[in-house]
């Protein structure tokens, strides 16, 4: 598991880091300072997608990353990670439309299979990750592209002009996360009613369960139940 302690977190990194969770190991106390060591070494920030040295990846993925680095606009590739045999690249927000066109035309990623988003409230300035899944029929390649955008500026260019299939997927991401896809032809709610308030898949949106009542017993809704620390 990749993690950072509180001290390391403030060190500037050249490669953007993505924090997905926070864990304070043992010695927890009721006040805010759960750390009893005095050196903040028990507070851990859990990281996702920390790239290895490119030499440690297998040939196929190494060549793929080199090829992508050549093709994509300059400095648009933030990081490239191979996890569980799956290549994941992070692209800068401003380059996504240009990159998608190049991915389609230069390396025959003919379908954009799926678009979704993930909300990491703890990941400052990179709270929302927009995930694109591409696939190629001619070379049987797959590629995951992630664009990290800040919660304060939830705008990203729609890929509708390049891949018309993203139409409904982007509407769903808008519906569920409030991400605004610029230049989308009809960005309206798709699953929730038109007059719904809030965006349900965001982490700050409550589940809104009701408790189950028995005689002499009361089972709280799933989001209010006791938490276990995995």
């Amino acid at each position: 598991m990749n993690y950072l302690t509180s001290n390391q977190k403030d060190i500037a990194h050249s490669i953007p880091i993505d924090i997905v969770g926070y864990k304070s190991d043992m010695f927890g106390s009721s006040d805010n300072t759960s750390d009893t060591s005095g050196y903040k070494i028990f507070d851990k920030y859990i990281l996702i997608h920390v790239p290895d040295n490119i030499e440690s990846y297998d040939d196929y993925h190494r060549n793929f990353i080199i090829q992508l680095n050549d093709i994509l606009p300059k400095n648009s590739l933030e990081k490239a990670v191979v996890e569980h045999g799956q290549l994941i690249i992070y692209i800068k927000k401003k380059d996504i439309l240009k990159s998608a066109k190049l991915l389609r035309d230069k390396i025959t990623l003919s379908q954009c299979v799926s678009v979704t988003a993930i909300h990491y409230p703890i990941n400052k300035d990179r709270e929302l990750h927009i995930v694109y899944e591409f696939k190629s029929h001619t070379s049987n390649r797959r590629l995951t592209v992630i664009v990290a955008i800040p919660d304060a500026d939830k705008h990203i260019t729609s890929l509708y002009a390049i891949y018309p299939s993203v139409d409904w997927h982007e509407r769903e991401v808008y519906d569920m996360f409030g991400v605004i896809f610029d230049k989308h032809p009809s960005l309206t709610r798709i699953l929730m009613p038109d007059d719904w308030e809030g965006h349900p898949q965001r982490k700050d949106y409550p589940l809104g369960g009701i408790s189950v009542e028995y005689i002499n017993a009361n089972i709280p809704p799933p989001d209010k139940r006791r938490k276990y620390n995995g």
Binding site: H84, Q111, C112, M192, G230
Partner: protein, 421 residues
């Protein structure tokens, strides 16, 4: 011109040439829209000028609910998404989580998964063929398709205890082993089904009425399919050899001998033929499963992840087996602790993101699964093929007849449970 709203008694006014565009609403409670799909159709006489599909009437927030329950319990939720092919939802989710955990499932569990998935593929295709037939007015197709599907549901009942919404796959294996009686049942089913396939052949394949209603209808070529992200039988009916069981094998499909069915018809008839011949291929795979299955465990060895008990089916339904309850309640306190630790707390999954697509009867089905290292999923999103394929309705229908709209929707075979989730 402003919109003019007409009521039923004003129907004579439609003769007025001013009303050359009529917008009608079809659904969400319409018998031939496959559930709660709503279509808003602009008509010029009988010609469809524009069509919008509106979804969301069956949205149940399954993905949000998953974030508040342990990894294992999520299977019970995802199985309710595409309820005609429940085992595929479970497989997509379970395979993605297994990818995150980096675990390998025992061979017998994989063969059981393939067996149940292929049975499920047959039942899903039968629903597609049957309901598609009845929407054209051929009710006999529906009755024979549902009669054959009943046999599969009976087999499912004997394997999982339930006819739908099985929650049968577990992370690391399956919930219950199968016995020889079930394999004999499946062999019997293969024989009966092979015989019954001739019924469909004579009812539909060469039927001039059926062909007239479906040939050249809902035409969508390969480039259109690729742009709209279409997968499954629709894209195979354009001649593209695209089947994830062959191109990205999972669960050990690479060890099985079967063909990917394609044709170049691009229309509703072509899609019907694809589904029909896939029934034959699925039966072939089932036969190989029955021949190749070997005894062995159906759950991984790793006690930190493996579900401690096997489900058994008693007279009052499914539950933990009697011997197991006896074991944890009166023989081994450590087993009891272990059981409750796994059942209430669950296991932690290393942080990461995984997407493992599988070939569901409708196309590419995949689960985006994100973990932040905890015992609950951080985010799960299902890429449902019906959701994506429904985008093709306007491309298939505009310029055609109103009656062909129903054929187009039937040929896409959407299941709204999967579309809205």
């Amino acid at each position: 011109m402003d919109n003019i709203y007409l009521h039923g008694q004003d129907i004579e006014k439609l003769d007025n040439p001013l009303f050359n565009k009529l917008t009608i609403n079809m659904g969400p409670q319409h018998p031939s829209t496959h559930g709660v799909l709503r279509l808003v159709v602009d008509l010029d006489g009988e010609i469809v000028r524009d069509v919008k599909s509106i979804i969301g009437y069956l949205h149940t927030g399954i993905e949000k609910n998953l974030e508040f329950r342990p990894w294992t319990q999520a299977v019970t939720f995802v199985t309710r998404m595409d309820y005609v092919a429940p085992l595929f939802n479970e497989a997509a989710y379970v395979l993605s989580v297994e990818k995150l955990l980096d675990i390998k499932v025992p061979t017998r569990a994989n063969i059981i998964r393939i067996m149940t998935m292929e049975l499920n593929r047959i039942s899903s295709h039968l629903v597609a063929i049957g309901t598609g037939g009845t929407e054209l007015g051929a009710t006999t197709v529906l009755t024979s398709a549902f009669k054959d599907r009943e046999m599969i549901l009976d087999i499912f009942e004997s394997i999982t205890g339930l006819r739908m919404n099985h929650a049968y796959y577990r992370i690391g294996g399956v919930a219950r082993d199968i016995n020889d009686t079930i394999i004999q049942d499946i062999r019997k089913f293969i024989k009966t089904m092979t015989k019954n396939l001739k019924d469909y052949e004579s009812l539909c394949n060469g039927n001039p009425l059926f062909k007239k209603r479906t040939q050249g209808v809902a035409y969508l070529e390969r480039d259109g399919c690729l742009q709209l992200g279409i997968t499954g039988p629709i894209i195979r009916a354009t001649g593209l050899n695209m089947d994830l069981r062959k191109s990205n094998p999972y669960c050990g499909y690479e060890n099985f001998d079967f063909n990917v069915i394609t044709n170049n018809m691009c229309d509703a008839y072509g899609r019907y033929l694809i589904r029909f011949y896939e029934l034959v291929e699925s039966l072939k795979i089932l036969q190989q499963c029955c021949d190749n299955i070997t005894p062995g465990p159906v759950m991984i060895e790793d006690k930190k992840i493996a579900w401690p008990s096997q489900i058994s089916i008693g007279s009052d339904g499914i539950g933990n087996s009697r011997e197991y309850i006896k074991h944890i309640m009166s023989q081994s306190m450590e087993s009891l602790i272990h059981h409750f630790k796994l059942v209430t707390d669950g296991f932690a999954v290393p942080p990461g993101y995984a997407y493992k697509p599988i070939e569901s009867p409708k196309g590419e089905l995949g689960a985006h699964v994100v973990s932040n290292g905890g015992t609950l999923p951080f985010r799960v999103h299902m890429r449902d093929p019906s959701f994506n394929n429904l985008q093709a309705v306007p491309a298939m229908c505009i310029g055609g007849q109103l009656a062909d709209l129903v054929v187009a929707v039937a040929s896409i075979d959407p299941v709204m449970g999967g579309v809205d989730r």
